[in-house]
């Protein structure tokens, strides 16, 4: 049995929804960040698979993936920096403890 586009797309979709589920249910910010990374990688997998199977030729999809990997890394760095600032003040990484602002 050979791998087809649908295997890759299914894997991408499963990864994506694991990520969505993680973001919505996890209470630890580090786990949420990891779940977001899963969502980014699901999209990357889709892009590469579409490039290989549906639109071979120009490596547009794979090129896009290089950009998104860099951007996702930059975004997560900002998130970790914010988390560190909070952790130093409040000594917590759980979202339910973030309750200064409400109303």
């Amino acid at each position: 049995m050979s791998l087809t586009l649908y295997h890759y797309l299914s894997l991408g979709a499963v990864l994506f929804f694991i990520g969505v589920f993680g973001v919505l249910t996890r209470r630890n910010i580090l786990s949420i960040l990891m779940s977001v990374e899963l969502m980014f990688n699901a999209a990357n997998l889709n892009l590469v698979a579409f490039n290989r199977y549906l639109h071979p030729g120009p490596l547009l999809g794979q090129g896009l993936v290089l950009f998104t990997i860099a951007v996702a890394a930059a975004e997560i760095v900002v998130g970790l920096a914010l988390l560190l600032a909070i952790y130093r003040k409040r000594d917590t990484v759980y979202v339910e403890n973030f309750n200064l602002l409400k109303g």
Binding site: G12, F16, G19, V23, I29, I32, L33, V36, M39, F40, A42, A43, N44, N46, L47, F50, N51, L54, H55, L60, G61, L64, F67, T68, V71, A74, E75, I76, V78, G79, L82, L83, A85, I86, K89, R90, V95, F98, L100, L101, K102, G103
Partner: protein
């Protein structure tokens, strides 16, 4: 090669912003004001670089972006809002003094991201510039690291932001699968289910930036926590920029009428107005109240986007411009009052600081009344003209439900805006000390008031320039 020159304003701003960062690093003791003035100079130069391109319509290199009057209108709006934010920051005390270079550079880079966003016609550039705006906004809203509320607001902003940009990227990957390109101009709009699906995923990211209703939860927290000049900035610039992008994608390149998404957008616009206004009624903190009101204002702007005829599109532009003036004014007055409050008061932005403002400073209370009347859409202010334009567009193209919802919402909004006016004029103040107003804040408020009144009393030059701006490629 010639087309690369079209990018002069963006390149200039990028170089100047990075230069500002390096300049600030090299200084041992830098003056905060001087750094901010350098930022103002950088933005002014960029504004001047746009002027020669104002009316040209040209395709950028590699078809990633276009240079057309529609984009230029939003670029000018974004640069003006950023300039204004820098002026407000001159008197803000919540920004750590030693990091002004970083602050001004991040603000300029956010403006750069928005300038690219409004001229993008390729999803690659859309994604990259959206992320540039997002990352800079996260940093800016958490800039006051010594304040836990600032970090907390920024963290909530970041979590929802990262989630929605992952959604957008997933949408882009599906778009690429459906069409084989990331170019938005390459294809005729069809109701291909995969394409529709991909656009809906992307809409999550755009809706997050516009603060459209199901994605608005970050708005009040991030706005309340952020330093006030940044709150003013976030409530105007990213919103206007993303509306520009939405206009370009969903009314020009892939019209939502052809994709049969009009009904969805109509529901989203009504929900955005209603949720924003109904939540604003119960707020006791001015920044939070203005945050919910900014959600509602985004809803009014979306009306013009839903009708998507020239009148509606012009309405969005006019509304965005008016909204910039009136919202900046309101935030500037809120800043003045917060500075005048005593350190003992726990929440310097509590609505009770507005009690009896008319007895402490009549001028300030009249100006705030002007801004609030304008936000509520009452003549003779700019807000009335903008609302009239947008609602008129909705009625003319037969979206009666939208127009009725908009008018009902304006009535709800008038209640909470005028309640502040009531506090200012008819409640006796806790203290009768006069309120000191710094020069920069006074200038900002004066400009905002002049612009709000000018649009209201003599709208024709503004309407003319908006009409001229509504020309675009392709």
């Amino acid at each position: 090669m010639k087309n690369l020159l079209l990018l002069t304003p963006e390149l200039l701003l990028a170089v100047l912003a990075l230069g500002l960062l390096v300049w600030d690093m090299l200084q041992k003791t830098s003056s905060a004001r001087l750094t901010l003035w350098l930022g103002v100079a950088a933005l002014t130069l960029t504004l001047l670089a746009i002027v020669p391109q104002l009316s040209q319509k040209l395709q950028g290199v590699g078809s990633l972006w276009v240079s057309d009057p529609l984009g230029n209108f939003f670029k000018i709006l974004i640069l003006l809002a950023t300039l204004w934010t820098l002026l407000l920051s001159m008197e803000d005390r919540s920004i750590p003094g030693g990091q002004m270079g970083l602050y001004a550079a991040t603000l300029s880079l956010a403006a750069l991201g928005m300038m690219l966003l409004v001229s993008a016609t390729d999803l690659l550039l859309v994604f990259l510039s959206l992320e540039l705006v997002s990352i800079c906004s996260f940093i800016l809203s958490g800039f006051n690291r010594s304040d836990p509320a600032s970090s907390e607001g920024a963290m909530k902003y970041f979590l929802i932001g990262a989630f929605s940009s992952a959604m957008t990227l997933f949408g882009i990957s599906l778009f690429y699968g459906a069409t084989g390109t990331t170019l938005l101009t390459a294809m005729a709009p069809t109701s291909n289910p995969l394409l529709l699906f991909s656009l809906l995923f992307m809409l999550v990211g755009f809706g997050f930036k516009v603060s459209m209703v199901p994605f608005h939860f970050w708005v009040p927290d991030a706005y309340q926590g952020a330093p006030t000049p940044i709150t003013a900035f976030l409530s105007i610039a990213p919103k206007a920029a993303t509306l520009g992008l939405l206009l370009r994608i969903f009314t020009i390149l892939l019209p939502h009428t052809a994709l049969s998404l009009t009904m969805l957008f109509q529901v989203l616009a009504i929900a955005t107005m209603t949720v924003g206004n109904l939540s604003a009624i119960f707020q006791t903190n001015m920044k939070r109240l203005l945050a919910y009101s900014s959600i509602a204002q985004a809803g009014y702007m979306l009306i013009g986007f839903v009708t998507s005829d020239p009148l509606g599109q012009e309405g969005v532009l006019l509304y965005a411009f008016t909204y910039m003036a009136m919202n900046l004014g309101a935030f500037a007055v809120a800043m003045v009052l917060a500075h005048a409050s005593l350190p003992a008061e726990q929440d310097p932005y509590h609505l009770r600081t507005y009690d009896g403002l008319a007895q402490r400073s009549l001028g300030l209370s009249l100006l705030l009344t002007l801004f609030l009347l304008s936000l509520a859409g009452i003549p003779p202010t700019g807000g009335f003209i903008a609302k009239f334009y947008v609602f008129g567009a909705a009625i003319r193209s037969g979206f009666y439900a939208l127009a009725v919802a908009g008018i009902l919402n304006s009535v709800i909004a008038a209640y909470y805006y005028l309640r502040i006016t009531y506090r200012m004029f008819f409640v006796s103040p806790a203290r009768e000390t006069p309120i000191p107003v710094g020069n920069y804040l006074a200038t900002t408020v004066a400009f905002a008031a002049a612009l709000t009144l000018a649009i209201g009393l003599y709208p024709s030059p503004f309407v003319e320039s908006v009409k001229l701006s509504m020309s675009y490629l392709p």
